[in-house]
């Protein structure tokens, strides 16, 4: 590492940590205004999120779906698109997984699980790919279209779950036919955390390698920098846009499959839990970097895990956690303006 590189690396670690510390101070002032002892609140946040094996697993379980849905934002962002429709890809991916799981029910569990994952990823890829194609070939704004497609996805999902695909036994909670206990995804070895976390981390690492270490990734980033320049350089821009959107959609679809195969065992309205929207926040805080998504998702999972502790011990409303999350993210985003401006990270060559 050269001195400059070391400076940049230090900047990438110190700035977010300092921002987080500043956010905690601001939040401390906020809770002090509510007549709570900030130190006790900090202690509870730490206990709720990271103090024991139990709280770590609580944090990781909450982080797991967000890692995958954040990729649905970060990958299209490589080609300069702002997709916010991960929720739609997630619910339709989950629905596809539930249908496949039920119809292949009797086959070997591993085969069923692979088929569910493949089907969910294909559906998710097609859904976000559709928004990407509308953008590339018809000039439709992808942010708006992916958001609207989410409403359509949820409507289609509800229509099928409450109609054609409904398990007649699911009286007051309309659901699809169960995929069967044998086909459920288990936990990561030694942990009380389902495989969704593993899939998310593997997906992030693979996407990091793709984006940062391959010529395809380089081409994606050129398209993101300037589509016209990429076209002049002879790159297949349309294919690259669709690929980035498809990969992002596949990640969100996989998140839907995990919800079905690791948690619910069927597709129902519980799948529409807002994970797709949570991922947007994480991708932005992670500055659209696949590897950075993992720690950011863990941080958000931790805030959410400790939120319960604050509610239960101090009788604070759930909104307190939203304040903490909001303050933390505003400060982190504001700190981005400092990148490259602080002399201590810029040693003279």
């Amino acid at each position: 590492m050269t001195r400059q590189e070391r400076g940049a690396a230090a900047e990438a670690v110190v700035l977010p940590v300092a921002a987080l510390a500043a956010a905690m101070v601001l939040f401390g002032l906020f809770v002090a205004a509510l007549n709570q002892n900030p130190l006790e609140v900090y202690a509870l946040i730490y206990r709720g999120a990271f103090a024991s094996a139990f709280s770590w697993q609580n944090t990781l379980v909450r982080a797991a779906p967000l890692i995958l849905t954040a990729l649905c934002v970060a990958l299209p962002a490589q080609v300069g698109l702002m997709m916010i429709g991960g929720e739609g890809a997630l619910v339709l991916g989950g629905l596809a997984a539930a249908v496949i799981g039920h119809f292949l029910g009797g086959a070997a569990p591993l085969a069923v699980e692979l088929a569910m994952a493949a089907g969910a990823m294909a559906v998710g890829a097609a859904w976000i790919g559709l928004a990407g194609a509308l953008r590339h070939y018809r000039g439709v704004n992808e942010t708006i279209s992916s958001l609207l497609l989410t409403y359509i996805a949820i409507a289609v999902f509800n229509h099928l779950v409450e109609g054609l695909l409904r398990d007649p036994a699911s009286l007051n909670k309309p659901s699809t036919m169960p995929i069967g206990e044998a086909n459920m995804l288990g936990h990561l070895p030694g942990l009380d955390v389902h495989w969704g976390l593993g899939f998310g981390v593997i997906f992030c690492v693979a996407m990091y390698v793709l984006v940062a270490r391959t010529t395809v990734g380089f081409a994606l980033r050129i398209v993101g920098g300037s589509g016209r320049a990429a076209r002049l350089a002879g790159l297949p821009v349309g294919g690259l846009v669709l690929a980035a959107c498809g990969l992002g959609g596949a990640a969100a679809g996989l998140a839907g499959m995990v919800e079905v195969a690791a948690v619910h065992g069927t597709a129902n309205a519980s799948l529409i839990a807002g994970y797709g929207y949570g991922g947007i926040l994480i991708a932005f805080i992670a500055r659209q970097q696949p590897l950075a998504i993992v720690p950011v998702a863990v941080l958000v999972g931790g805030i959410s895990a400790s939120g319960g502790m604050l509610q239960r011990r101090l009788d604070l409303p759930d909104a307190t956690v939203l304040v903490l999350q909001g303050v933390a993210f505003m400060v982190i985003l504001a700190s981005e303006a400092l990148y490259g401006r602080l002399k201590i990270f810029r040693p003279a060559a």
């Binding site: 130190l39 006790e40 379980v61 409450e162 319960g308």
Partner: protein, 375 residues
């Protein structure tokens, strides 16, 4: 996480020291424990906000009341979605707070979330609202409690029937599921017991909490000439407020919404969860086995009606009070033959009475004659 071996730079070492220091400092401030040796710790979990004027508020009122019972500590958590979040919330209450009796109140918490946790924590009691527990299929440390709130809906209908001038009532519902259909039908039967010409216009919004759609539905029903509204959604707040603003009447649901509509609030179908909560708490304190299947109506004190509003006429009060007295006696049957649905198909044959405890009612998939709408 703190594994920093092999990276012996000074900066890293300082960082590690810093983290260790921070962790140590945090350890000095020991948070208040929720656990107390001889107290029963009870966890209550809500899917929405506790002050929603609806489903969650009805539960929170009971939780607030049991807090005052001797030897009881209550921990609460709101806005917990029906995902792994609720599993972790239940586990946190058990592991971190020492809870041994849980009230996870949302219907969607049951399968798979409560069932998973009940398997893992066999000594903890799980009391779920919604009535899904089945003998032989579900574990013994899980119980269901629920109320026959269609009795109150029938009474709402009686009062609405007396009050309506246009003879058009409006019902805004979340989903066409048996529980909801039973309320719509009971409301309509109550109203038509007053005047068989009355109709109920139904709008289904599609989900439990869609405030914008609920307001639009209320506006559109009022525009069509409906002059008494009611609903079955998680929070009746916007429906009640919209009705009041437009100067029509409204019947409440879940909790009391009278303060939101001082002029137009007629009466309401309210839960009285304190009854089953108290039973479960007392059983837990006495070490008696959990009652797995707990149901009741007006007579058993599981549901109640809101006090009549100013606009309710003397005739309406008399009629409704008369029916209520018969319900309290236990000799009033809402669903009895001959009963036709709104496609003129007979759904209950003449001479057949389906009492509250009849499980057939829990598979209801029709709308009675007089309801304008489709399942």
């Amino acid at each position: 996480m703190l594994d920093m071996t092999g990276r012996g730079s000074r900066r890293e070492a300082l960082k590690t020291l810093g983290i260790a220091g921070a962790v140590g400092a945090l350890g000095l401030f020991r948070p208040r424990p929720a656990r107390a040796a001889d107290k029963l710790v009870i966890g209550v979990i809500y899917v929405g906000p506790r002050d929603d004027y609806g489903y969650n508020q009805a539960q929170a009122q009971a939780a607030a009341a049991i807090k005052k019972m001797p030897g009881v500590t209550v921990v609460e958590q709101e806005k917990v979605p029906e995902t792994t979040d609720v599993q972790k919330t239940m586990a946190s209450m058990i592991e971190q707070d020492g809870a041994t009796l849980l009230f996870p109140t949302s219907f969607g918490y049951f399968d798979p979330h409560i069932l998973r946790m009940a398997e893992r924590y066999a000594k903890v009691r799980f009391a779920h609202c919604g009535g899904l527990w089945t003998e032989g299929k579900h574990p013994k440390n899980v119980g269901s409690y629920f109320g026959y709130i269609d009795e109150c809906q029938y009474l709402n209908g009686v009062v609405a029937g007396h009050t309506s001038k246009t003879k058009k009532l409006g019902f805004i519902a979340a989903k066409p599921i048996p529980q909801v259909l039973r309320n719509i039908n009971a409301f309509t039967l109550g109203a038509r017991s007053v005047d068989p010409k009355i109709t109920t216009q139904l709008i289904i919004t599609g989900d439990w909490s869609l405030p914008v759609k609920e307001a639009e539905a209320a506006q559109s029903l009022i525009d069509q000439g409906v002059d008494v509204l009611t609903c079955h959604v998680d929070s009746p707040k916007v429906v009640v407020e919209t009705a009041e603003r437009r100067g029509v009447f409204v019947c409440g649901y879940h909790a009391n919404q009278a303060t939101l509509a001082p002029k137009g609030y007629l009466t309401g179908a309210e839960w009285n969860w304190l009854t089953p909560y108290t039973m479960h708490v007392k059983d837990a304190q006495a070490g008696k086995p959990l009652v797995n299947f707990l149901r009741g109506g007006l007579k058993e004190g599981f549901v109640k009606t809101s006090a009549y509003g100013r606009a309710v006429s003397e005739a309406a009060r008399k009629n409704a009070d008369g029916v209520k007295a018969r319900m309290m006696e236990g000799d009033f049957v809402i669903f009895k033959g001959p009963l036709k649905d709104n496609t003129s198909k007979t759904v209950i044959d003449a001479g057949v009475s389906q009492k509250q405890t009849d499980v057939v009612l829990e598979q209801m998939a029709y709308l009675v004659e007089g309801v304008i709408g489709k399942v």
